[in-house]
């Protein structure tokens, strides 16, 4: 067996050596701390083996914040490199690796887990369910995501990072042009996380279709739950395409097949075609739950029912269908001819219509409302104009003929950051502030939240607005430097300064989490915002592990709002409390995550015999699962009464 010892540790670069040392020290530190405080058992029992959707959601969010840090540092490094012309902070190869890992991490390991986490926490509570349909599968999804994320992050210290862009286009990404093992990480780590995502999609669809509480018909569901449903459907349709593309891409790289190669009958552009058949729906996968979060937040803080509920539902359904019909707009310049380009131009522009409907519905929801400027609401308000800029520039890019000018410039980079950041990131922030009390029983500080909001917003616009003009002036994307004569320097410098504010905004968020954990007021009650409309606000904060002591009955949309108004359906009677059946925790998901991690690692290094052996360890996990007959346990009535004491005396 040819073990590539020389390739295992990437050395030489002082930045890398410093990170390697930092990683080793942090790991040793964490292990030492866990041992010293005797927390291993707690970690294992409470977190690693949990199947509770809320804890899984919290783990998703925690990982998402970590990945945001990693991806953000990549972004800052790029901004530092291009701040002045002919800079030598990063060389060309290093810049390639940094934008590749930045793109992949931000989309797959930051945006996705953040949204999966928020769906996990809020969706079952909104539909009055006690968990998702398949709790153990849910834990498996998380551990596969985590395993993929760790494997991908390992690449920059062990073996070398992928460097062919987040799109990893063949033939560049093939063995012929990228011999090392760096790009194997792309094919394998994303595959592992993707299996988890697909499982989540199925899990959420079944949960929403089968586990709604009494009286909650589809058209009485909160808007966030609707978007979770449609997103999951897109996941089920789109992810298998990527699964197959990654699989055959991996076969090309590892076993010498010729699906995407230039010679021997391969079709390199087929990768671009398959990638975007998944890639465009993927951007809707990360934007639709965000739309749902904004809808709920805006209705809550405008204290009005969401305007045009039916048209909102229709709009997301139409968006989901159109999202599958536009993929070619990412490679108009491939030369597919005027007919194909025109068709995809039109389908792309059509998406602006349902999106416009949603924009107006949000505005009409706020019209004549008593708007309360809480932090979640601020993020939602800022989203509307900034996302509009992203949308309008999107329509500009949709015109195939014009796209030949914009293609591959920083104009495009500015456009998609103007959709992804206000769309996804602002929504994630809004959702975190909004549901934080439901997760932890205390609010994040509103005061630090405003710092976070203003720094991030100003930073974002100062960083990315100049990029539109840079792009129109001809600055190409993915270029590590430019000459002073190009005249780009001023705008690049402004953009770099903006990114410092972005970083400060992120730091404010982290500080807010720390500060609120230490000092925020506890005992916020079930409805900490005072204007909650949906069922999650009817139960304690943090939500008890069984969620609902008795399952609520829903009569209309915004059920909790009407229960409060009519003072009906809210009190808890002792005679109604029955023992609650809950699923048992399990070690199998975390084992599967570990098994996939090692399996993926040996695949990346192309150690074929070892990969057969560790492949068997994955199968072993499946076999254990088949003989797992633990059907859970009952929460006794006394425990429920004890937990529900915050309601006052229970008669």
């Amino acid at each position: 067996m040819d073990i590539k010892w020389d390739k295992i540790l990437v050395g030489g670069d002082p930045l890398l050596v410093a990170s390697q040392i930092a990683i080793v020290l942090t790991t040793v530190g964490i292990i030492a701390a866990l041992t010293y405080f005797k927390k291993w058992k707690w970690l294992w029992d409470e977190w690693l083996t949990t199947v509770d959707h809320k804890k899984i959601g919290i783990m998703y969010i925690l990982s998402g914040v970590l990945m945001f840090f990693r991806g953000g540092v990549d972004g800052l490094m790029m901004k530092a490199q291009t701040a002045v012309p002919e800079n030598t902070f990063l060389d060309a190869q290093h810049y390639n690796e940094v934008f590749t890992t930045h793109g992949v991490i931000m989309i797959i390991f930051m945006a996705m887990p953040m949204l999966m986490g928020i769906i996990n926490i809020a969706m079952p509570l909104q539909i009055g369910a006690r968990d998702v349909a398949y709790p153990q599968l849910n834990a498996l999804s998380f551990w596969l995501f985590f395993s993929g994320a760790m494997l991908f992050n390992l690449s920059f210290v062990v073996g070398g990072s992928p460097d062919a862009g987040w799109t990893s286009y063949f033939p560049l990404a093939g063995k012929e042009f990228s011999p090392g093992i760096g790009n194997n990480y792309y094919m394998i780590a994303i595959q592992i996380a993707g299996i988890g995502t697909l499982a989540s999609g199925i899990n959420f669809v079944v949960t929403i279709l089968k586990m709604r509480t009494k009286g909650m018909s589809l058209m009485k569901m909160p808007m966030f739950t609707w978007t979770a449903l449609i997103t999951s459907l897109i996941i089920i349709i789109a992810f298998p395409i990527f699964t197959i593309a990654l699989l055959i891409g991996m076969m090309d790289r590892l076993y010498g097949t010729h699906f995407f190669t230039v010679e021997a009958g391969g079709l390199d552009m087929l990768w671009a075609n398959l990638f975007w058949l998944w890639g465009h729906p993927e951007v809707y996968i990360v934007i639709l739950p965000a739309f749902g979060i904004f809808s709920d937040v805006i209705a809550t803080f405008a204290k009005k029912r969401l305007y045009g509920y039916f048209s909102m539902v229709l709009a997301i359904v139409i968006i989901s269908v159109l999202s599958m019909l536009v993929w070619v707009h990412h490679f108009y310049t491939m030369g597919v001819g005027p007919t194909v380009n025109s068709v995809f131009s039109i389908t792309t522009m059509l998406i602006a219509i349902p999106t416009g409907i949603k924009m107006f519905n949000w505005l009409f929801t706020m019209r004549k409302g008593k708007i309360e400027f809480t932090t979640p609401m601020l993020w939602s308000l800022a989203f509307i104009p900034t996302f509009l800029i992203g949308g309008v520039t999107g329509v500009m890019l949709a015109m195939a003929a014009a796209d030949f000018q914009y293609h591959n410039t920083l104009f495009l980079v500015a456009h998609f950051h103007y959709t992804l950041i206000p769309g996804t990131v602002y929504a994630v922030f809004a959702g975190l502030y909004y549901w934080w009390p439901k997760m932890f029983g205390y609010k994040l500080s509103e005061k630090i939240g405003k710092w976070h909001f203003w720094l991030f917003n100003i930073g974002f616009n100062v960083t990315f607005f100049p990029m539109f003009f840079l792009g129109l002036n001809g600055a190409v994307r993915r270029a590590y430097t430019y000459s002073a004569e190009s005249g780009f320097s001023t705008l690049f410098l402004i953009s770099a300064i903006g990114s410092i504010f972005l970083a400060a905004g992120f730091a404010a968020l982290v500080y807010n989490i720390y500060w609120s954990f230490r000092h925020a007021e506890r005992n916020v009650g079930n409805d900490p915002w005072g204007s909650g409309r949906t069922l999650e606000w009817s139960i304690g904060s943090p939500a008890p592990h069984y969620n609902f002591a008795t399952l609520p009955e829903v009569k209309s949309i915004d059920a909790f709002w009407y229960m409060k108004k009519e003072k009906k359906g809210l009190e808890l009677r002792k005679s109604d409390i029955k023992p609650i059946h809950m699923p048992a925790k399990s070690w199998i998901p975390v084992y599967m995550g570990a098994a996939f991690f090692v399996f993926g690692f040996v695949l990346v290094f192309e150690w074929h015999i070892l990969s057969v052996i560790f492949g068997l360890s994955v199968l072993a996990g499946l076999a254990f699962r088949s003989f797992d007959y633990d059907s859970g346990y009952y929460v006794p009535v006394e425990e429920i009464i004890e937990t529900e004491k915050w309601r006052g005396e229970i008669k």
């Binding site: 279709l209 075609n273 398959l274 058949l277 599958m324 019909l325 030369g335 597919v336």
Partner: protein
């Protein structure tokens, strides 16, 4: 199908025989005839579609149970998306000069 739930499952036996016959025909068309390749593809393609429909209706309870409508809807949705993905890809990859 409901009628046969108690007695001998004729429907299933016939379905099974037809499925086997279709498979054998497909092999025969490919190995034992001298049609042009495109004709062979059309023939076995048709048989594949017929085979899939047979499986869905005879064995996979497509039209039974109280969630029948949702099964039909999601099957049609999946077929529609399959067509978009496959026909769309072939169209895009063979149009213009991308293939050359």
């Amino acid at each position: 199908m409901e009628k046969q739930e108690k007695g001998f499952p004729y429907g299933h036996v016939i379905g099974f025989l037809v499925a086997v016959a279709l498979t054998i025909f497909a092999l025969l068309v490919v190995f034992k005839t001298s049609f042009a390749t495109s004709t062979k593809f059309t023939l076995i393609g048709l048989m594949a579609v017929f085979q899939a429909a047979l499986q869905l209706f005879m064995f996979m309870h497509m039209t039974e149970g109280n969630d029948r409508d949702s099964k039909v809807i999601h099957t049609i949705y999946a077929i529609g998306m399959g067509i978009v993905i496959i026909v769309g890809s072939i169209w895009v990859m063979t149009a213009g000069h991308s293939i050359h």
